[in-house]
């Protein structure tokens, strides 16, 4: 009698479990289906609405944009601009992260430096990079250098603010534990404090990635691209100037695709394999 009950409860338990898994799976399918059908609807609307409303000179149908994207991609024009943009962005991000690392380290070592940094951050953090462009142009001239400086400015402050927030939120028990287990100075910072602050550092990098694109595209639109190839910002500006509306949208699509690819394939996968796996999400 009891065994029978037990068996039925085990079976129903197993059924619950598979039901749950099924539910999870079907939820995932539903979620993906919703996203995909939204995109399809959007593309369909984009394809037919301009022709119906006879505004296809301003907004070309979707297939024309795709064609322009494809053609420009293979003739190399677009790729050249994409490559140039990425070069500027990665230079900016690399220098920005390095600077942020040094400045954050100084803030942690010296309380006085931290005080100075507080003031600098409250001045610089709310200042849009574009507003600084005239000053930067005067100081650094009309070259790629100025754009890299604007990118660095756009990402440096959020990187530092996030990293400092990370260091300030390290649980006391973790540093005490590190010391108790025999760690001191740099070892303690490197082996205990930085991993503890990592969730905040990573979210700073995610913000930096989005911000660097905004900085690049807007700087190039204001600034133009004299004496160089120019990045995607310049490409979009140029195509608009020559009324190549499809080309303009192709430029926009490139920005979106690169942003999504890096976010999904690089940043989110780093997040999944570190912060999420360790249960340290902010």
């Amino acid at each position: 009698m009891l065994t029978g009950k037990l068996i039925t409860s085990v079976i129903s338990c197993g059924r619950d479990r598979s039901l749950m898994l099924n539910n999870q799976r079907s939820e995932k399918i539903k979620s993906t289906a919703t996203k995909v059908s939204f995109l399809v609807a959007l593309f369909l609307l984009w394809e037919f609405l301009p022709t119906w409303t006879q505004s296809d000179k301003i907004i070309p149908p979707f297939h024309e944009v795709i064609k322009a994207f494809w053609v420009n991609l293979w003739t190399g024009d677009l790729l050249k601009h994409v490559g140039y943009s990425l070069e500027l962005i990665f230079t900016g991000i690399a220098i920005g992260i390095l600077l942020a690392f040094v400045l954050t380290a100084l803030c942690i070592i010296s309380k006085r430096f931290n005080d100075v940094m507080d003031v600098v951050i409250s001045i610089m953090h709310p200042l849009p990079g574009i507003a600084l462009l005239p000053v930067v142009m005067l100081l650094a001239g009309l070259g790629a250098k100025s754009i890299v400086i604007i990118i660095i400015h756009s990402i440096l402050w959020p990187l530092i603010v996030n990293a400092l927030a990370g260091f300030n939120s390290i649980p006391k028990i973790q540093t005490e534990l590190g010391k108790n287990l025999g760690m001191k100075g740099l070892k303690l910072i490197w082996l205990v404090m930085i991993p503890n602050a990592f969730p905040y550092i990573l979210s700073g990098i995610k913000i930096a990635w989005a911000r660097s694109w905004r900085a690049l595209v807007s700087a190039e639109m204001v600034f133009g691209a004299s004496g160089m190839i120019g990045g995607l910002g310049w490409y979009i500006y140029k195509t608009r100037f020559f009324m190549d509306v499809s080309g303009m949208f192709a430029g926009l699509i490139s920005v979106i695709i690169i942003g999504m690819v890096v976010d999904e394939l690089v940043l989110k996968s780093i997040e999944r394999n570190t912060v999420q796996k360790w249960g340290m999400s902010v």
């Binding site: 649980p171 028990i173 973790q174 005490e176 534990l177 010391k179 108790n180 287990l181 025999g182 760690m183 070892k187 082996l191 205990v192 991993p195 990592f198 570190t274 796996k277 360790w278 249960g279 340290m280």
Partner: protein, 253 residues
Amino acid sequence: MSDLQIKNICKSYKLENKELKVLDDISISLNSGDFLTVLGPSGCGKSTLLRCICGMETPDKGQILIDGNPIAGIGPERLMVFQDFNQLFPWKTVEENIIFPLKFNNISKNKAELKEIAEEFMDIVHLKKFRNAYPNQLSGGMRQRAAIARSLALNPKVLLMDEPFGALDAQTRAILQKELLLLWKKFNTTIIFITHNVQEAIILGSKIMVLGLMPATVKIEQENTIPYPRMPETKEFMDLWKILYEQLETKRF
């Protein structure tokens, strides 16, 4: 495996310009391999006492000697196990949590040897199956086990335990008490174990101490001679329980 002498330590904190005396003239003398359980009402300064021995705090007066030598700051010869479940490094697996401190304390540089040590201690605390699990995948009891294993692997002179089972359910607590006694018998480590649970203090300690409230002074210090394993139903257990319970001040500020 060392003897510990605590001589007349005092400690006070400043609280809104008032001096708050936490520890008043506490002396403890432990032989190598003693298991001292410390009882006291919450807020009495039990943790402060332990933090002083660990070196996280410096007493205002008095001396702490290990094998006759005064302690020097914080270090791995006096290891603390906290109540907090967050005392493992969350980015390291159970195995790495044990190996990592061994590595930078130069216990061994040899990878195979380190793995062997970790293996031994994971086996003792029954976590072999979970060697590749991250702390957030473990239950509270497993995390405390891993923390104890990590501490013991470093072979400390004194193991300081600040209510390590305080946040566990009664059943897990009973299991871990048994395991801890086995570990203590195997390694003969000198242990100071803080608790506010009278029963736990009797089950574990070879010596029991009761502290008074604000400032903490030693009210009782006595040997616990009831043979292990100690059962709460026995008369000697209940008699001791009564004595200790009466000495525990229950009134608050």
